[in-house]
């Protein structure tokens, strides 16, 4: 297996590799600049707020400019216009222009630990989206976090997050991806628990980290398996990468458990990691709690970017997920494999599940959080059924309007003196007009209001793919129902917040320009982005697949398209109408129950309590862990504690024994010895009795002895 890969690699190595474009070689700057800025900010003292914000915004601006330049590199038209020679490397099996820079970091025996980055259409659009939305949110944060004393720390973490997210986007090596993935998780933890003194925030941060960890463990498993099977950490490596056709062929020939191929099993494991990060059922429980963090954090991390990282991951390893299905070469539309089927079902289920819960929530951010979970389900379903372009288009549009909605919610919270319960808001249409207009645009984009808003086109792309999915039709109906629910709960929310009368305490005020300007920019894009994904001009899809597309109104003439557009428009109007009818006029007072609550209190109760998923976890997993902790504690105190106490007792005994030995044997022996010596000395001293005659006798005796010796020696 390894030998084949090496042979293939050598084959490709002989092909001349054109010199890399300038931007590709410096692509690493895009994530590095915000990370460096974060490092510098971490060394600053708290009062240096302007410098911190300036560093963060400046570095991200640079990253945005570089990302735009990278995107520009990918555009044939732009190159032709500017007169550049397009030198992107295009392999014979894959028409998507893609450049990689790989290098070996460590060599362990014969295995190489490689890192590298890739610039292709997928990463280019993601880079631009992340840096642009991130920049707008950074600017917004200057206003939102103005009264917070830990302003500097906020920008340090945000900058680090931005760098890590950009790192995830450009990573060509599974290891680099995982490192940045974990870093993103870490910054999410730090930012959710930003107000760490609040117990709910600390608990939410911990919950987020642990839940995504469950996914990450499976992700790591999948990664290691991929590495061991394909022999390389790199995704793309001129034909020798782990998701390039040669390696995929090898993976498909291997069989794992449950009738899966190795490719399928690895794909499912990687999807587990994506499910954790992107809040798919059942690992979605952390996302609503993550709203404890500041609103810019919710907007950037938990709406636009980090949760989108899971979707991006699936898009990145799509060749692996789709391996084995019937594919046209170069097309990023999928056939169906087991992995993609699982992705689709999980996504569709999550979409409906979260939308249902969102209907009964009363916290302005929590509604948006469940909405995010639901839309992520849409994206996953879109990937599973329609391929990379479908899922990614919805991801891009969703990033803009969800960020817009969150920032709008933040503006509302900021203007209403930190009130987050929608039952205590109302009538803000008059008090906060700019916020209302931008929020309405975002809300309509999310609902998928026909034609003018980007959400309509992206969601329709998913619905279109669902309609033509040849495995089952159920996801289509589920997603359609989800669209109905989406329109309904968003209208409910807008009705509560912006219509009716003011139910709060102090009067509300509009937010400053530094906050409303990003809202306006995002609103513009929430509408304009639809243009690149219409069937008349599917530029986005073509860009990702490496084709050039022209404007062709005949695209509208596809058979089921008109019916589909009509059906989805109908559903949206139905939802909007229902919501307006129930909540448009006079929203109830805070003490009164909701209209639907009065109608179906039990169902409403289930939905409000989030369908008891957290409670199920608490009763099963967490209860098990608590029990296990008790067992371990008992073991520790009784068993090991007993052992330790026993050892201590034994040592005490030994010490006492030693003491006795010492007193009686050692000391006694020593003392006895000394006494004996003294006695012997006393005995010998008797020789010196002081009497002369004794000495004389001894002298004479000695002479006799000497004489004897002399005689004896002379004789022998």
């Amino acid at each position: 297996m390894q030998g084949d890969l090496l042979a293939l690699r050598n084959l490709f190595a002989d092909a001349p590799v054109p010199p890399q474009p300038w931007m590709v070689q410096r692509l690493w700057l895009i994530p590095a600049l915000p990370m460096v800025a974060s490092g510098i900010i971490s060394l600053l003292k708290q009062p240096r707020r302007r410098l911190a914000a300036g560093l963060a915004i400046g570095s991200l601006t640079f990253s945005l400019l570089l990302s735009l330049f990278a995107l520009g590199n990918m555009l044939d038209e732009l190159d032709a216009f500017l007169g550049f020679q397009h030198t992107f490397h295009v392999s014979f099996s894959d028409p998507v222009p893609r450049e990689v820079v790989n290098f070996t970091w460590i060599q362990v025996g014969t295995a190489n630990v490689d890192l590298g980055w890739v610039l292709d259409p997928l990463s280019a659009v993601m880079l631009v989206m992340v840096s642009f939305v991130g920049l707008l949110i950074f600017i917004y944060s200057i206003g939102y976090m103005e009264h917070d004393e830990n302003f500097t720390r906020f920008f340090c973490f945000m900058s680090l997050f931005a760098g890590a997210m950009l790192g995830v986007v450009i990573a060509n090596s599974v290891l680099l991806l995982f490192m940045c993935w974990e870093l993103v998780g870490l910054t999410s933890y730090l930012l959710i628990g930003y107000w760490y003194r609040k117990p709910a925030a600390a608990a939410a941060a911990k919950k987020a980290f642990l839940t995504t960890r469950v996914g990450d463990v499976l992700f790591l498993l999948g990664m290691v398996w991929l590495f061991s099977q394909s022999g390389t950490l790199l995704f793309y490596n001129h034909g020798a990468g782990s998701i390039e056709p040669a390696a995929l062929a090898g993976l498909l020939s291997q069989h794992a458990a449950l009738g899966l191929t190795a490719a399928g099993a690895i794909g499912l494991l990687i999807f587990a990691g994506a499910a954790g990060k992107s809040g798919q059922f059942p690992l979605h429980v952390w996302l609503p709690d993550a709203m404890e963090g500041p609103t810019p954090v919710s907007a950037l991390i938990h709406a636009a970017t980090m949760v989108a990282a899971g979707v991006y991951l699936i898009a990145r390893v799509y060749p692996l997920m789709a391996a084995g299905a019937l594919m046209q070469p170069g097309a990023l539309t999928g056939g169906t494999t087991t992995a993609l089927t699982v992705v689709t079902w999980v996504g569709a289920f999550t979409a409906v599940f979260a939308a249902l819960i969102a209907v009964a929530q009363n916290d302005i951010k929590r509604i948006l959080a469940y909405s995010t979970v639901s839309q992520l389900g849409y994206m996953m379903a879109g990937l599973g059924m329609g391929g990379v372009a479908v899922g990614m288009f919805h991801l891009i549009t969703h990033a803009f309007f969800k960020a817009l909605l969150f920032l709008g919610a933040g503006s509302v919270i900021h203007g209403c003196h930190d009130e987050q319960d929608i039952r205590r808001l109302g009538g803000l249409r008059a008090d906060m007009p700019l916020t209302f207009v931008t929020y309405a645009i975002g809300m309509l984009a999310l609902c998928g209001f026909p034609l003018v808003f980007s959400g309509f086109w992206s969601k329709d792309g998913i619905l279109d793919a669902a309609l033509h999915w040849n495995v089952a039709k159920a996801p289509f109906y589920m997603l359609l129902f989800g669209a109905l629910l989406t329109a309904f709960y968003m209208t409910r929310q807008v009705g509560y917040v912006f219509f009716g009368y003011w139910r709060g305490g102090k009067p509300a005020r509009e937010s400053p320009a530094v906050m409303t300007a990003p809202l306006a920019i995002l609103a513009f894009f929430a509408m304009a982005l639809g243009l690149i994904g219409t069937p008349a001009w599917p530029w986005f899809r073509g860009f990702l697949e490496g084709r050039t597309v022209g404007f062709d109104l005949n695209g509208f003439k596809e058979p089921d398209l008109a019916a589909l557009m009509g059906a989805s428009a109908l559903v949206v109007f139905l939802g909007l109408g229902l919501g307006a009818w129930l909540y448009g006029g006079n929203a109830p007072k805070p003490e009164e129950p909701d209209v639907l609550e009065r109608a179906t209190p039990t169902v409403w109760g289930w939905l409000r309590d989030r369908l008891y998923v957290d409670e199920i976890y608490g009763a099963t997993v967490i209860a098990f862990y608590a029990w296990w902790a008790r067992v371990a504690d008992w073991l520790d105190r009784r068993l090991w504690g007993g052992v330790v106490a026993g050892v201590g007792w034994a040592f005490g005994l030994w010490a006492r024994l030693n003491r006795l030995l010492d007193i009686y044997w050692v000391d006694g022996g020593f003392d006895k010895g000394c006494e004996e010596l003294a006695a012997a000395g006393g005995l010998l001293a008797r020789v010196q009795n002081g009497r002369v005659q004794t000495y004389l006798r001894i002298l004479a005796l000695a002479v006799v002895v000497l004489a004897l010796m002399l005689i004896w020696s002379s004789r022998s």
Binding site: T694, R697, A700, L701, V704, A707, L708
Partner: protein, 166 residues
């Protein structure tokens, strides 16, 4: 051996025995004198006339007198209460017997290599005087020094100490 030899030897030995065995110290000193006389006779028998007369002059005439004086000065004539022999006299006797055994055995063993009858030497006092002043002048002078030192020493040692130096 002639009868005279046995007589004189017996006399000498008897005198010696008496000198160490008698209780009264003065008697011991007088017995010693007899022993000295016997030895002088033995010297004469051995044709060492000068040595014999020197023996009589010095030993009997000076040393024996000196011993008597010392006995009298130290009240030696009184018989001590515990007896004249030391408590462990047997050990001393044993050692002395051992010494005699060795000496006697050595003499008897080497009897066959010892020379015997030789010519009688003719020794005149002149020869002795010449030898003293010639060959043996150094020992003579040393002995003179020794005698001087001994005299002075004996006087100092035996002198009464001055009062106040107790």
């Amino acid at each position: 051996m002639s009868f005279a030899f046995y007589l004189v030897a017996g006399l000498t030995l008897a005198g010696g025995l008496a000198a160490v065995l008698l209780k009264n110290t003065v008697h011991c000193a007088l017995a010693l004198t007899v022993a000295f006389a016997g030895l002088a006779l033995l010297f004469l028998q051995l044709d060492a006339q000068f040595a014999g007369f020197a023996q009589i002059l010095v030993y009997i005439g000076a040393v024996a007198i000196l011993i008597v004086f010392a006995i009298l000065l130290t009240k030696g004539s009184e018989t001590p209460k515990d007896g004249v022999f030391s408590r462990s006299w047997l050990a001393g006797l044993a050692v002395a017997a051992a010494v005699f055994a060795i000496l006697g055995w050595a003499v008897l063993q080497s009897a066959h290599v010892l020379p015997h009858e030789m010519a009688v030497p003719q020794v005149t006092v002149l020869q002795i005087g010449n030898a003293l002043m010639g060959r043996y002048v150094l020992p003579l002078e040393i002995v003179a020094l020794l005698l001087t030192a001994a005299t002075i020493g004996a006087v100092i040692v035996a002198m009464h100490e001055k009062e106040g130096r107790k």
